[in-house]
């Protein structure tokens, strides 16, 4: 490995000797902290905890659906579980995870000391965490609530008027509304912080053109969050007014409009898909070049593609509403807009492929996850095109095909990239490598488990199985698909267990990572692992988009070729 001819602070930078008690130190590290790295890790830890909670609910649902007419759980319990599973995965796994990545990595990548607003950053974290706790505390709300107690059971997109007091008495729906308003506020804060940090705190020499693509893509995400979350929050406040003050925005029994909720929700909900997916793209875009030993192919095209995905995806929301009876011309408009998103997405897939082309690919665990991501995301993208074809969607929408499609996107796509990110940046954050052997077991079991679970569900949808049903009769062609799908969960659970063990074991006994274990090119690898609180002892020099390449290869630096 090429060594970095670069002055690096090898100590942890802890000069002051602390005399605080254990609890004081604990509180400083885990409660009062405003350090972007610590908050980043805390975000990722809560995301993983909620991931396990939500995954267990998914496992129970798959067990219930393993056989027709199964009676493992009651319909009420099942409906709560799919509502909580969806809500948790989107708002309390996906969002905190990407916030964690952004917090941890953006300041390091742009050579900054911290995020632009550290205390606001801490506020964002605590709002997200307490939002999640509020949501889950609804499970304890048995006795105190009239009517439907316990957790929300209206589905994660909570269509009106099912959410109105007349159909959802009790407080479960209010838990759903308030917890999401809280966490959305947290996400908005994070978005503001990302934009301010990337725009204002870049180190000398790092022009926007030289800014890592990771940070570029997170800027697009932050922009989308700022545009997309307000409609959701507004709609949720309107729903609260309906429920408590007798407003009639969505109350169809008093001439309210059920479809209005759908517009508001998907105006948020579709960009949300990209808010979750683009950070995945961002990770892949950093990891693939390093393990292919080549710069990203078509850097400018990648930026252009990300920005156009960010813009086009704001205008495609009604493709979730092809079946609500909008006029044919409206449906056609949204179908065409939806297909157009496929173009920049395609450009990205081609650029990643071209980056590997002609490289010398190292098949380390992070790269394996990226390669699997490419194949799986390709399929997810193509089934997305099918769903974009409005008439095809009349058949596929709200069926198990959709369930399979978005799990392909969010597991086969996003989750795989997040695991790639964990294996790639774990050494930076902890100073230790994750085990390659366990990593490969984790990878292969997850690939197999994922495909066994979700491939059959496409076919269940093609033969007419609707989503969100707690049971189904025999004889409709759905038994086999559901049976195999449920077994896949067992394999996935084994993979996750290995991953958890790998993390715990490596934290204690993992190989020391050093500053730059992957021989990478972005600034976070120019400081120690883990980085000191102030990140960089000496300001690194930036003359191109790969500052560490320039340092390692003074005979052939990037800045000789880059035009900007």
């Amino acid at each position: 490995m090429a060594s970095v001819p670069y002055p690096i602070d090898e100590g942890r930078g802890e000069t002051a000797v602390r005399k605080d008690s254990y609890w004081a130190r604990f509180a400083h590290a885990w409660v009062f902290t405003v350090d972007h790295k610590q908050l980043g890790l805390m975000y990722i830890i809560i995301a993983l905890l909620f991931f396990v909670a939500s995954g267990l609910q998914a496992a129970v649902m798959r067990a219930q659906l393993m056989y027709p007419n199964n009676t493992l759980v009651s319909p009420q319990a099942f409906n709560r579980m799919f509502t909580m599973h969806g809500t948790t995965m989107v708002f309390f796994v996906g969002m905190p995870f990407i916030a964690g990545l952004a917090n941890y990595l953006i300041p390091l990548m742009i050579g900054a000391r911290d995020m632009a607003f550290p205390r606001l950053n801490a506020l964002g974290f605590w709002l997200t965490l307490f939002g999640g706790i509020l949501l889950y505390s609804s499970y304890l709300a048995w006795a105190g609530t009239a009517g439907q107690g316990s957790a929300p059971d209206v589905g994660w997109f909570a269509y009106a008027p099912l959410t109105e007091k007349a159909f959802s008495p009790g407080t479960s729906t209010d838990f759903w509304i308030l917890s999401i308003i809280m966490s959305s506020t947290g996400s908005t804060i994070t978005a503001i912080n990302i934009l301010a940090t990337a725009l204002c705190l870049r180190i000398t020499g790092m022009t926007l053109a030289r800014m890592p693509l990771f940070v570029w893509m997170f800027c697009v995400v932050a922009f989308q969050i700022l545009v997309a979350l307000p409609p959701l929050t507004a709609a949720q406040i309107m729903l609260l007014l309906d429920r408590f003050l007798g407003a009639h925005f969505f109350d169809t029994r008093a001439a309210g409009d059920a479809v209005l909720w759908q517009h508001f929700f998907w105006l948020f909900g579709h960009p949300e898909v990209y808010i979750l997916m683009i950070p995945g793209f961002a990770c892949v875009t950093e990891i693939i070049p390093v393990f292919s030993r080549k710069p990203i192919f078509g850097r400018a095209a990648m930026i252009g593609a990300s920005v156009s995905i960010g813009l086009i995806s704001l205008g495609v929301w009604a493709h979730h509403m092809y079946t609500v009876g909008l006029p044919s011309k409206t449906n056609i408009f949204f179908a065409v807009a939806t297909m157009l998103v496929g173009v920049p997405t395609g450009i990205k897939i081609f650029n990643w492929t071209a980056t590997m082309w002609g490289g010398r690919i190292r098949f380390r665990t992070p790269m394996l996850f990226c390669i699997a991501f490419l194949f799986q995301f390709l399929i997810a993208g193509l089934t997305g095109i099918m769903l974009g074809v409005a008439p095809f969607d009349w058949q596929l929408g709200d069926s198990y095909f959709v369930v399979a499609h978005f799990h392909y996107t969010l597991i086969g796509g996003l989750l795989f990239t997040l695991f790639a990110a964990i294996y790639y940046w774990f050494p930076k954050a902890t100073g230790r490598m994750l085990s390659e052997t366990l990593g490969k077991w984790h990878f292969w079991l997850l690939v197999i488990g994922f495909h066994v679970t979700f491939d059959p569900l496409h076919f269940a949808g093609l033969v007419g199985m609707p989503r969100r049903i707690y049971t189904y009769p025999a004889g409709r062609g759905w038994e086999g698909f559901n049976y195999y799908s449920s077994w896949g969960v067992v394999i996935q659970a084994a993979a996750i267990a290995i991953f958890v063990w790998n993390v715990i074991d490596s934290l204690v006994r993992g190989k020391k990572a050093g500053n730059d274990p992957w021989d990478a090119w972005t600034l976070e690898w120019a400081t120690t692992s883990p980085p000191p609180e102030y990140n960089f002892a000496v300001s690194p020099e930036v003359r191109s988009s790969r500052p560490l390449w320039d340092l390692k290869h003074p005979e052939d630096p990037d800045w000789k070729y880059e035009q900007v």
Binding site: T252, A258, V259, F297, M356, R360, M386, P391, I469
Partner: protein
């Protein structure tokens, strides 16, 4: 084999109802049996083929890159040539997908419009479909028929095309009407009137579901479409238009009419005029109970009335305390309602 097995199951489950009608239980969207579903299926096949070709090409390129450019023991440890990109290549893989999108967009526009903008012919059968938590009400307003969960429609043939137009409304929350082999789904939304049409081309019973999550018993909001020859359909219409059968036993009828059942259910010609639950005037002409795949006969009916929450937990039919005699009388009366 599979189909025969299913037919056998059907035979065992519904011995009294086994007519010549086959059961279309598997809603395979690629085996459409009505024009809207056929149009969608054709477009879907085109889309699927295009996507499959794209997948094969891109996945092969990916696989080739991964295999061909993988680092092996003994390879040079030096860095490969650093390539930054190529504008020509970027333009190529921007323009080609745009052309594909163009083809798909044009076909989508054509089919969307063909299905959605179909005019109502004068001789169409008009049915108002009303979604309830968690059952379907079908009102043939022109024919003055009200029934539940099983939609009877006439067969459409090339010689005599017969369209059935559905006007979709909801009594409570949003539902979705979906019988995959006949048409794509259309949402059934309160305060809004949606429309769809079908022209089934094969006799038989088609199974479908509510496709929009609508609360506790969404799973058991199933529906059947019974496609009959025009003659059989006429016969069914005449039979449904009759008033309720005269009671065989006044005492049995009294057991029913003095119960709370009449607050929600209608039996024409009696003082049972409730509108919240399914119309029971011709209850026994229906094959199934409770919008589920449970056959409708005296035994299941008795279980259902005794404890509706056991078969379909959370549904809106309350359990009414009845002793065995009352229960027997009630079932005896209801089973006369052919």
């Amino acid at each position: 084999m599979n189909l025969r097995f299913r037919l056998l199951c059907n035979f065992l489950l519904f011995p009294t109802l086994l007519s010549a009608e086959p059961l279309h239980a598997v809603g395979n969207i690629f085996r459409p049996l009505a024009t809207p579903a056929e149009l969608v299926s054709d477009l879907s096949t085109l889309t699927l083929v295009i996507c499959a070709v794209v997948f094969l090409i891109v996945a092969s390129l990916l696989a080739y890159a991964v295999i061909r450019f993988g680092y092996r023991e003994g390879d040079s440890r030096s860095e490969p040539a650093q390539v930054y990109g190529s504008n020509q290549v970027e333009i190529a893989w921007t323009v080609i997908p745009i052309l594909i999108v163009f083809v798909l967009a044009m076909s989508t526009a054509r089919i969307t419009s063909a299905v959605q903008d179909q005019q109502v012919p004068k001789d169409a059968v008009n049915v108002t479909v009303i979604g309830h938590q968690w059952w379907w009400e079908f009102r043939y307003t022109d024919l003055k028929i009200t029934t539940a969960n099983e939609l009877h429609v006439p067969l459409s043939t090339t010689a005599e095309r017969k369209l059935t137009f559905l006007t979709l409304k909801s009594a409570d929350v949003a539902h979705g009407f979906w019988v995959p082999q006949l048409a794509g789904k259309t949402d059934v939304i309160p305060n809004r009137t949606n429309r769809m049409w079908i022209d089934p081309k094969e006799l038989g019973i088609y199974l479908g579901n509510c496709s929009e999550y609508c609360g506790t018993q969404h799973a058991n909001m199933e529906l059947r479409v019974v496609v009959e020859t025009p003659e059989d359909f006429e016969k069914w219409v005449t039979q449904q238009q009759e008033r309720a059968a005269a009671p065989e036993s006044a005492e049995n009828q009294r057991a029913f009419l003095s119960s709370a059942c009449i607050a929600c259910h209608t039996v024409s010609g009696t003082r049972a005029l409730g509108r919240t639950g399914p119309d029971l005037t011709h209850l026994m002409s229906r094959q199934t109970l409770a919008a589920t795949e449970v056959p409708n006969n005296a035994a299941t009916l008795r279980d259902w009335i005794k404890d509706p929450q056991r078969l379909k937990p959370g549904n809106k039919m309350p359990t009414i305390k009845l002793n065995d005699t009352q229960l027997d009388q009630m079932v005896a009366y209801l089973t006369t309602l052919h």
